[in-house]
């Protein structure tokens, strides 16, 4: 039994990091916005890492799962707000709907696209994201290109104060929860058969098959898990926080690119990587926005490229080598 718990020790630094971040956010005035942004990057980095990091497949349409998750929450609030007795239930239904919609989309996409290898998969997923956005806009479903605005319904259901608390505080707290869940799932997968299967297929898919691994099955599991978590992030960080959903915004490819950067910067396929990556990325971006407003990308992009080229294993990959054979080893994975 002890052996089982030891396996989960690497969660300790992750959860400590989140706790410190959270405490800074609620105790230091004016910090919550920054903390919430960091929680967003960490959560989405961890969610994406379960797919990108563990399988080595790049999904350029990843933001679509956040997008449909956003719709899940929006639909719940805008349709169910009249059902009085539901109360906070509509938020829970919204989260569940986000989860279900994102996983359904991932099953549909995965069943087709995950049969493709590497670059072909990546290209196909760009199409999925754009296609889904145009479907919503063109077929005028879910408010079409207008999107859905539900701030009114939210206030109506919960009252001004609670509604405001939901979008300024609870939406961000949910992100911490999602990040913690994602971290747990990551290590649970890593320590289980699925982790071995994913490592094997990431390194050599054909050899993995010959070893008896049903690679498509494991890729799809990782894909659905990662997509569902993205759906939850969308439901909290976008729907609940902004109280509207606008298609061009939730299918914006640059969020996918940010996710990829966070995972690669921190260390793909590691537990700590996306946390470190999310913090470093978020803080640097924030800092550059303050000191060189308007030019942050111009400076940021080359820095990122240099770092990723110089440290292909990411920050945590480098640390792992550095601390090999020391007591810290079992915490850095």
């Amino acid at each position: 039994m002890k052996g089982k718990i030891v396996k989960y020790y690497p969660l300790i630094p992750v959860y400590i990091a989140y706790l410190i971040l959270f405490l800074i956010g609620i105790n230091v005035s004016g910090m919550w916005q920054l903390v919430a942004m960091l929680a967003f990057y960490c959560a989405i980095g961890q969610a994406f890492n379960i797919f990108l990091g563990m399988t080595g497949y790049v999904d350029f349409g990843y933001v679509a799962f956040m997008g449909v998750g956003t719709y899940g929450m929006a639909l719940s609030i805008s349709h169910l707000h009249q059902v009085q007795w539901l109360g906070m239930g509509i938020i829970i239904i919204g989260l569940l709907l986000a989860l279900v919609m994102a996983s359904l989309l991932s099953i549909a996409v995965g069943a087709v696209a995950l049969r493709l290898r590497g670059a072909y998969f990546a290209i196909a997923t760009i199409g999925v994201n754009e296609g889904f956005r145009f479907l919503i806009e063109g077929a005028k479903i879910w408010g079409g290109s207008e999107g859905i605005i539900f701030s009114g319904q939210l206030t109506q259901t919960f009252g001004r104060e609670t509604a405001s608390l939901l979008s300024t505080l609870w939406a961000d707290i949910f992100l911490f929860f999602i990040a913690c869940i994602a971290a747990f799932i990551t290590i649970y997968y890593m320590r289980g058969k699925i982790g071995y299967a994913l490592t094997a297929l990431r390194e050599d898919e054909d050899a993995a098959k010959v070893m008896g691994i049903n690679v498509t099955k494991y890729k799809i599991i990782a894909f659905i898990t990662s997509a569902s978590l993205a759906g939850l992030v969308g439901a909290s960080a976008w729907a609940l926080k902004l109280t509207y959903v606008f298609p061009p915004q939730v299918f914006e490819i640059h969020y996918t690119v940010e996710c990829i950067i966070i995972v690669l910067l921190g260390g793909a396929g590691t537990l700590l990587g996306p946390v470190v990556g999310g913090l470093v990325y978020g803080l640097t971006k924030y800092w550059l926005t303050v000191i060189v407003p308007g030019f942050q990308l111009l400076i940021f992009a080359p820095i990122i490229i240099v770092i990723i080229v110089a440290f292909p294993e990411g920050i945590v990959g480098v640390l792992k080598r550095r601390f090999k054979g020391t007591t810290f080893k079992k915490f850095i994975i």
Binding site: G3, R191, G192, K193, Y196, A197, T199, A200, R202, E203, D204, D206, A207, A208, K209, V210, M211, G212, I213, N214, V215, G269
Partner: protein, 249 residues
Amino acid sequence: MTLLKLENVTKRFGGLTAVNKMSFEIEQGESIAIVGPNGSGKTTLYNVISGVYFPEEGEVIFEGKNITHLPPYRRAPLGLGRTFQIPRPFSSATVRENVAVGAMFGTLSNKIGVDESLETADRYIELVGLSAHIDKEAGSLTPTEKKLMEIARALAMKPKLLLMDEALAGMHPKDIDKMVVFLKKVKEEENIAIVSMVEHIMRAVAGFAERVIVMYQGEKLIDAMTAQALSDPRVVEVYLGHPPEGTHA
């Protein structure tokens, strides 16, 4: 009992016929060497047996079951293990994890958990003499160590048929002798049929195989007991590059 049966198997790559109407049988517990000059289709034959490629024609029967079009991941648990001519380790994983993958997914019951697989891995790693490298990343091993690791990984799958693709190539003659002794021993102990291609290392062929199949240009040229096959003049001819009489090259 017949373990593997190939019937008229043909595999083409575009206009090139890499394996041409191959038929043969392998009995349980046999040790066979497949030899033939470069490009004669040995690796392709392995790929057809393990399911990496499906043949255009013919059938592959394993323990009476037609597996011609079964995907590789479903063949492995039936008892088909293999190594690769160019080693294909899961580079970022440790030696122990690599071998554990074999035990975890390559065995029939498929109920073997992570911990048990790691223990199985330890045993086979010790057998092939890699215990000192057990926690090393597989990618950092020397080519010979990688080959040994692949043998351990394949053995951990508890195969009934082990296909080794030039696993002994590049090894020191002394190590080859040791490996031959080792393979004979595991073959007896685990009742595995071992098919090994040892290419030019006739020393290993003679020491290890009971039966030799000689391939030439995708076809089966000779299938005979070792002593007889190796003394066949056609063997020397194909290795020297002269087409033997009676083949249409």
